[in-house]
């Protein structure tokens, strides 16, 4: 069984409890990440893979603590490098369900290089970016998605920089699945994560996960509830790449949730092509023990 062929809906042998660990999160009360964790447990229960067949990889940051709060195999790695590690896991064992989670700094600042390449390789990962527009763990500095002009402890007079647009980046990099959710709509967020997992290829889900301690008032959960506009309600067609791009450009101004783009004809994944190559070449192999025969000269 592979990640893209999960247990059919309606026959789930697991409940959300099976995916939750007994570690107490270090997150501040009111942090959006609690909602992301809950939505993740629910989505995993809906998909129904046993926790030991799931690997959740993160980098460093508040949100990157999330693997420890699940009962899956977790890897809380180093800053910015969750995607390469997750690709190594998935390529080494394509039967696993591999998820990646982390903050906007992890994914679009220090680890920005890796997003483009994970996407163009189309490794079947579900990447959840918990986007809070701030560096929380280091106590409130600018992040790559901070709006221009934001005053923080590292931009006392306001930032000069345009924010990164994670949705537009991932669409441009060629991701087959691009979505945005918010913990203000738990059912919607759960459904997006589940849809991302079921998508047979790289899936990117940006989650507007407000920082209750250093974030701006207008981004908190209460305000989120009022701002949120569901793409589905707007009649958005997830197969329409150009429309997805147009709506993604409103990142930072509008808070659209839902699936921006889902490729109607998903491309082959790296690991499926690797499997084919192995099948093709394995018959030509001598045993590992006779590898030195390659150097014979007679």
């Amino acid at each position: 069984m592979t990640a893209s062929t999960p247990v059919p809906a309606g026959s789930q042998p697991f409940t959300t409890k099976d995916y939750r660990s007994n570690l107490k999160p270090i997150w501040c009360a009111g942090c959006g990440d609690f909602g992301v964790a809950t939505a993740l447990y629910r989505a995993l229960a809906a998909v129904g893979r046993p926790p030991h067949e799931i690997a959740l990889v993160s980098g460093i940051g508040c949100s990157s603590r999330i693997p420890g709060y699940t009962n899956c195999y977790g890897f809380n790695s180093i800053h910015g490098r969750a995607l390469p590690i997750a690709q190594g896991i998935k390529l080494a064992n394509p039967d696993l369900l591999v998820l990646v989670a982390g903050g906007d700094g992890d994914g679009f600042s220090i680890g920005g290089n890796h997003v483009a390449h994970a996407i163009r390789r189309n490794v079947d990962l579900t990447y959840i970016c918990m986007d809070n527009q701030i560096y929380g763990l280091t106590k409130g500095q600018l992040s790559p998605t901070s709006p221009r002009g934001l005053k923080t402890v590292s931009s006392s007079y306001g930032s000069f920089e345009e924010p990164v647009n994670p949705l537009l980046y991932c669409l441009a990099y060629g991701a087959g699945f691009v979505a945005q959710g918010a913990p203000a709509d738990m059912d919607g967020l759960t459904a997006l994560i589940e849809a991302g997992i079921r998508y047979p290829g790289f899936a990117f889900i940006n989650v507007q996960s407000p920082c209750v301690t250093y974030g701006e008032e207008k981004f908190q959960l209460k305000a989120q509830k009022l701002r949120l506009e569901k793409l589905e309600a707007l009649g958005h067609d997830p197969a329409d790449f150009m429309k997805a791009t147009e709506r993604a450009r409103a990142y930072g101004e509008k808070l659209y949730t839902g699936i921006y783009y889902r490729c109607p004809s998903p491309a082959a994944t790296f690991e499926s092509m690797a499997r084919e190559r192995r099948q093709e070449l394995q018959s030509r192999a001598a045993s590992r023990s006779s590898i030195l025969d390659l150097f014979q000269t007679a």
Partner: protein, 611 residues
């Protein structure tokens, strides 16, 4: 354990100096390196011991190129020193290689007649070679094959004729090589080779004549270089994942594995950068696979943080660093031994990361396999320090008895270990059974943040101290691994020499030559560089009155590393210089001779390295 006392690099006390060292240089298109390759392939088929090194200008294509080939009926450990035969297709390019192609008073110099230089006027006179022989190489190529591209084939004919080198093997090898190029090219090439042979027969060298005795066993040998050997060792060891990024001079390891790893059920990822390459390896190791990356100095610098992650998450992996001249871009195509400290110490926090180094191309095989074994057994990253010299030189090699090599697998949790599973359990030997995603009941959190035995993040000082102690204590058995050292010469000899990597070969040959001269010298070649095996060094130093550490590093990195951990009971000197030109056995022997002439009592006890 005896693992490293296999015939591939065993000590042959009765080594005869019955070898021929040939150096050739020409312009980029002259195919001089290709001629060297043809010669060593023929030598391998005939059963000769041979080493071929190549040297190029830094141009992407074209420019000058040279090679040096040492042939012997007996086992050899270095590419030799002064040339017995020098071939110059033009003088400008030959002279660019300077010390890499040293001409001495016994050298026979063969050169292109069209250079117009009279034998008495050649630009080599310090010292003047034994014989200078002009030959119409270009003319013969043009007349027989209709192209100057056949100049290298003419040279092969000349060398084969004058020095009795494996004519039929060269000819049949070239036929195979040109098989796809059409009958005309093959026939032209045949004629060019014959022209060289005939010219040699018609112009005997007289006093310059040199003949190589036939090999004792005419059994074909293996032929390869250190990078391909490293890739083969990874396959043998059971490597199922390679992640890396192209970098000179290590890329051929990735290229070899790209051809082979799929056939053995593995995967290769050419990553977007050095960090991602190692990151994917860390992930694959977490997923339960034996995994490797390969790089050179700049890549090792970039991989530092990820290596630290593998140390604290206790994940096995092998990271090969094919050293080149540094710092920064440095000398990408030339050898140096200056990454030792980076390999041992480029980590923040208290880290012990094993570092191994092979001493010959043949040795790359068991050393790389052992790197996997140590990684898997101790759940740690292991660095293999190869160098450009070993990585890109070709050697003929006796068959390796792979049945003698162990392949160690990581310790998996038994049923009792899973009830409940404690990933980082503090065990008597410090090694905790390791599960993998997919194993029921083995679920755990791996992390770069300090963690308790359960894997839960912890900032508690007592926990940190306990876990540091565990991670370092588990490696203690490495301190007794004297099988990872080659020690040879009389064990009570008062003079000792130490050298590693590609320097160990010429060092051991120097010691053997001096022993034949009657000087009591013993040599130590460490394959385990870090952690420093204090007991092994102490035993070596026990009988010494004076010691010399030889290495290609301006800062004398091994000399200082040993002194950091071992109190030296005798004066210990350093022969240390920057890279590019490898040491020759003569150079090292000269230094030992002058050291032997010293009264050890008169030598300061903590001398500065020779600069």
């Amino acid at each position: 354990m005896g693992l490293f006392n296999t015939p591939t690099f065993s000590v042959q006390a009765s080594l005869m100096i019955s070898d021929l060292v040939i150096g050739m240089a020409g312009a980029g298109g002259d195919g001089i390196v290709s001629a060297g390759e043809s010669l060593i392939a023929a030598a391998a088929r005939e059963g000769y011991y041979a080493i071929l090194t190549k040297s190029f200008g830094s141009q992407i294509r074209g420019g000058e190129s040279s090679c040096r080939l040492r042939l012997s009926a007996e086992p050899i450990l270095s590419a030799g020193g002064t040339l017995q035969v020098a071939v110059a297709l033009n003088w400008e390019d030959f002279l660019k290689f300077g010390g890499e192609l040293p001409v001495g008073s016994e050298t026979v110099v063969i050169y292109e007649e069209a250079t117009g230089v009279a034998p008495g006027q050649i630009p080599l006179d310090r010292p003047r070679p034994a014989l200078a022989v002009p030959a119409p190489i270009a003319r013969m190529a043009q007349e027989t094959a209709g192209t100057l591209k056949a100049k290298n084939t003419v040279v092969l004919g000349l060398l084969s004729g004058w020095f009795g080198l494996a004519g039929e093997s060269i000819r049949s090898g070239m036929r195979r090589k040109f098989a796809g190029k059409g009958a005309e090219v093959q026939a032209g090439n045949d004629r060019a080779f014959q022209a060289g042979l005939d010219y040699a027969a018609q112009h005997p060298l007289g006093s310059g004549s040199r003949r190589l005795p036939p090999p004792a066993h005419r059994k074909p040998k293996l032929l390869t270089d250190g990078n391909d050997m490293c890739g083969a060792a990874a396959i043998f060891a059971g490597c199922e994942f390679f992640g890396g990024y192209p970098i000179t001079p290590s890329s051929e390891i990735m290229q070899f594995l790209n051809r082979e790893i799929w056939k053995h059920g593995g995967v290769l990822l050419q990553a977007e950068d050095e960090i991602a390459g190692l990151g994917a390896v860390v992930g694959a190791s977490f997923a339960g696979k034996k995994a490797m990356t390969a790089t050179s100095g700049p890549g090792l610098s970039l991989k530092g943080e990820m290596l630290g992650l593998a140390t604290i998450a206790e994940l096995p992996l092998v990271c090969v660093d094919v050293q080149r001249g540094g710092p920064s871009t440095g000398l990408p195509t030339k050898s140096e031994q200056s990454d030792l400290w980076a390999a041992a110490f480029s980590a923040h926090g208290d880290v012990v990361r094993p570092v191994l180094a092979p001493i010959t191309v043949a040795d790359v095989f068991p050393v790389t396999v052992e790197a996997f074994n140590i990684a898997e057994q101790f759940q740690t990253p292991v660095i293999v320090l190869s160098d450009q010299e070993l990585a890109q030189r070709k050697e003929t090699i006796d068959p390796i008895d792979t049945a003698r090599l162990q392949r160690i697998e990581r310790r998996r949790p038994a049923a009792a270990d899973l009830d409940p599973y404690v990933r980082y359990r503090i065990t008597p030997d410090g090694i905790s059974p390791i599960s993998y995603p997919g194993m029921p009941g083995g679920n755990h959190l791996a992390s770069g943040i300090e963690h308790n035995e359960n894997g839960a993040p912890s900032a508690n000082g007592a926990v940190h101290a306990r876990m540091n102690e565990k991670r370092i204590r588990k490696l203690a058995p490495l301190g007794d691994r004297d099988d990872l050292f080659t020690r040879e010469g009389p064990p009570d000899a008062p003079i000792g020499v130490i050298g590693w990597g590609s320097t160990a070969g010429p060092l051991i040959e120097a010691a053997r030559n001096l022993q034949r001269e009657g000087l009591a010298v013993q040599a130590l070649a460490p394959r385990l560089l870090y952690p420093v095996a204090e007991k092994v060094y102490r035993r070596f130093f026990a009988s010494l009155r004076v010691c010399l550490v030889v290495e290609q590093s301006h800062l004398a990195q091994l000399y200082r590393l040993i002194r950091m951990f071992v109190d030296l009971p005798c004066p210990c000197h350093s022969l240390a210089r920057s890279g590019a030109n490898p040491f020759s056995p003569e150079e090292i022997a000269g230094q030992i001779r002058s050291l032997a002439g010293l009264d050890p009592a008169a030598v300061p006890s903590t001398p500065a390295p020779t600069r």
